[in-house]
Amino acid sequence: MSIPKIPFGLVGEAIIAWITSHLASPISLLAAAITQVNDLVLAILNLLNPFVFIAVLTLLAWRFGGRALAGFVLLGFLAIWDQGLWLITMKTLAMAVTSTVLSVAIGVPIGVGMAESRALSIGMTPILDFLQTMPRFVYLIPAVIILGIDVAPAILATTTLAVIPPARLTALGISQIDYETVEAGTSMGCTRRQLLFKVKLPLALPEIMLGINQSLMMALSMVIIAALIGASGLGDEILMSIAVLDAGRGIVAGLAVLVLAISLDRISKGWVARTTESRGIMSRGAR
């Protein structure tokens, strides 16, 4: 070709080299912090005896999803334990939970900002659109380039993806609040902060909780893919089984992922519905 190649790769390499050499200490600090949080979550999960864990989860499932879900959770998790996948599953769960916590902690303030400030909304919407269109594989590249192959980049990549639903849904929830309600708050003399914390956030709670649910699901699915860059857990198990062509092992690990995903999804959805109901908030955007 006559036209020279645009040196995206070289420029990118230079930028990354600059980042890794100049920002090494904050980056390693970030990685260490992420790893610490993940280790903490994992330690908490492993602190519980598997049976206690299963019992608690089954009760939660019963409370939020009814008897059928409770049965599914009980049998599913007993099967995971029986297959000797317990520790691996807990690793995956810990990473997904860590990413979700980080995403919600970052995403909800972004959503609030988007709802409160026009400029931020105009600035953030295309970024979120872009992040959402990006195939998931691509998230791994920058994370692995900056942080190398480890648990921290896997969680970082997952968080980048899972931050989208809380941000979007929080913004949606706040923007859907009736103007009259906000006006009533203002006329009662609410400050802007009071308005946010005592009127808007409580009313947007169903959407925010849906955001948490979606974030968790996205995180779970991404954590599995992130096995490629060193996230241990069920994803790694699947990857190994693909590599050694041990289909049975892969499928069983896949089923474990499915059990985990469905249990978490249904329980958290039930929790959203229950809270929404008990607060008497109409779940407007919840479809």
Binding site: I3, G12, D82, Q83, V138, I242, G248
Partner: protein, 288 residues
């Protein structure tokens, strides 16, 4: 840890062996067919000059009077060409096309059936639920079992992965058609089929298009992952870059995937006002 009480792994392996022996009659022709289609599509696409394809993509948007988008798409495609990833992008495109095609052919009738029949709804709905809760990675395994390694298992896994949004959005779209419109048609003597084709489907066009768009985007995202099981295309570039820790290559192939996603998204997005479309998208995100 002691041996599992239920020997799940051996059982699964036995089932697979059985299936591979007995169902090969079905899978083997399917595999050959899909391979042939893929080869044909790839050779057709790559025989066309890149600039012609870019012009076609750009032109189709310009005709719809989306000037800015048209130019952006042309630039994006040109950058892929410039990066030397054109062939890989076409390989990916071919796989996306076949997989999305299968997903649409299966998904649209599925969605219609879901709305028209209560029983079908009760059966299909939970299955779609399970499918959407399943992480992308998991789709690869059963697919490899029956189709081995290569492009075909990738296509099948991708089609399965991108099926639920199509079925969901078609069902959602048909269900939201105002009852008054249906009643009016019935009062005018329309048969059930006529109501479906001439009232319900046109009135839910925006939902169906949104579903097609989502299907294609999900297919693209999955096809890239399918590089792990031997599908060609941009995914291979990403995987090799990841495994070799080749920064430049990783960045370039990542950019190419994002650009391809951008091009496909814009090409398959119906020309309608941003706002109403977005509200449809938001609803699709939350199937209940």
């Amino acid at each position: 840890m002691s041996d599992p009480v239920v020997p799940l792994v051996p059982i699964v392996n036995a089932v697979i062996t059985w299936a591979q022996h007995h169902l090969d009659v079905v899978f083997s022709p399917l595999k050959h067919l899909l391979e042939a289609v893929d080869t044909l599509l790839r050779s057709e696409l790559s025989s066309l000059p890149p600039l012609l394809l870019i012009a076609l993509a750009c032109g189709s948007l310009l005709i719809r009077r989306q000037w800015k988008t048209g130019i952006a798409v042309a630039v994006a495609a040109a950058v892929i060409l410039n990066l030397g990833l054109w062939r890989a992008a076409l390989d990916t495109l071919s796989l996306v096309g076949i997989a999305a095609g299968i997903a649409l052919v299966v998904g649209i009738p599925l969605g219609i059936t879901m709305v028209e029949s209560r029983v079908a709804h009760a059966i299909i709905e939970p299955i779609l639920d399970y499918m959407q809760s399943t992480p992308a990675f998991v789709y690869l395994i059963p697919s490899i079992l029956f189709f081995g390694i290569g492009a075909v298992p990738g296509v099948i896994a991708t089609a399965a992965f991108s099926l639920p949004p199509v079925a969901r959005s078609v069902a959602l779209g048909l269900a939201q058609v105002p009852f008054a419109a249906i009643e009016a048609a019935v009062a005018c003597g329309a048969t059930r089929l006529q109501v479906l084709w001439k009232v319900k489907v046109p009135l839910s066009r925006s939902y169906i298009f949104a579903g097609i768009n989502q299907c294609i985007m999900m297919a693209l995202s999955m096809v890239v992952v399918c590089a792990l099981i031997g599908a060609r295309g941009l995914g291979v570039e990403v995987v090799t870059a990841l495994t070799q820790m080749n920064l430049a290559k990783g960045i370039e192939s990542g950019i190419a995937v994002v650009l391809l996603a951008f091009v496909l998204d814009r090409l398959c997005r119906p020309a309608r006002s941003e706002l109403s479309e977005r509200s449809v998208m938001v609803q699709l995100k939350r199937p209940q």
